[in-house]
Symmetry: C2
Subunit: 130 residues, 2 copies
């Protein structure tokens, strides 16, 4: 880990990353099984994608006997941060504020979660006031 991602994973790559962030290490078969739960995808398609991701150093892999164990080389939060920045720029013209307002306004967020957000805001305000 610890390779600041500067290139954006594609959508398919992100799907695979999500699975690997959850599983830690996994074989192509495992990843493909997970993918198959929500989309039709051939085994060799997944394989090829993971090989490409390996070439790009998005994934590392170790040989375990006959097969390969793959692992994400870029961190989840790190990647989310990168994608979030680009998304804010492209979709909200750089205004994180607008994005947050829309997300709070229209996506599902529970009371407890709102509380957590309030805490975070309080923290932030404290820091900004220094």
């Amino acid at each position: 880990m610890e390779n600041i991602p500067s290139i954006k994973p594609t959508e398919s790559e992100l799907e695979i990353l999500q699975i690997l962030w959850q599983l830690g290490k996994a074989t192509v078969r495992q990843v493909n099984d997970e993918l198959s739960k929500f989309k039709e995808v051939g085994y060799t398609t997944t394989l090829k994608l993971m090989q490409i991701m390996h070439e790009k150093h998005i994934l590392s892999r170790t040989e375990e006997g006959r097969y390969h164990l793959y692992q994400a080389e870029i961190g989840e939060e790190q990647t989310q941060q990168l994608l979030l920045g680009k998304f804010v720029d492209a979709t909200f013209r750089g205004s994180a504020m607008k994005l947050v307002m829309q997300a709070l306004g229209n996506q599902d967020v529970s009371l407890d979660e709102l509380d957590e957000i309030k805490k975070l805001i309080a923290e932030k305000e404290k820091n900004l006031n220094l």
Copy 2:
């Protein structure tokens, strides 16, 4: 307007939409000039894209003498909402909460803006408590 967007504009299309949302109506030349401020792009490239967007009913156009005036057919907030939903799913596994936390934590948000967000949260809580 009033055509709920279900297809996602591509990145280039979104760039053009951003400009048209700002300008209202505009010619290809105007849009291309705006685009040129932050990226190299040939006139015919922009033209072609806008023609394609017109075919897809993302843009409407009226003929004014020799040239065309284009206008966004899908609303800004509507589109942001659509893209936000997909983005939350793809990047934050559906958790708007996580997205908001990350956005507040790491993107630039001012004190005033935090205040606004607090107000929105208070509103939301009121509604949820009913």
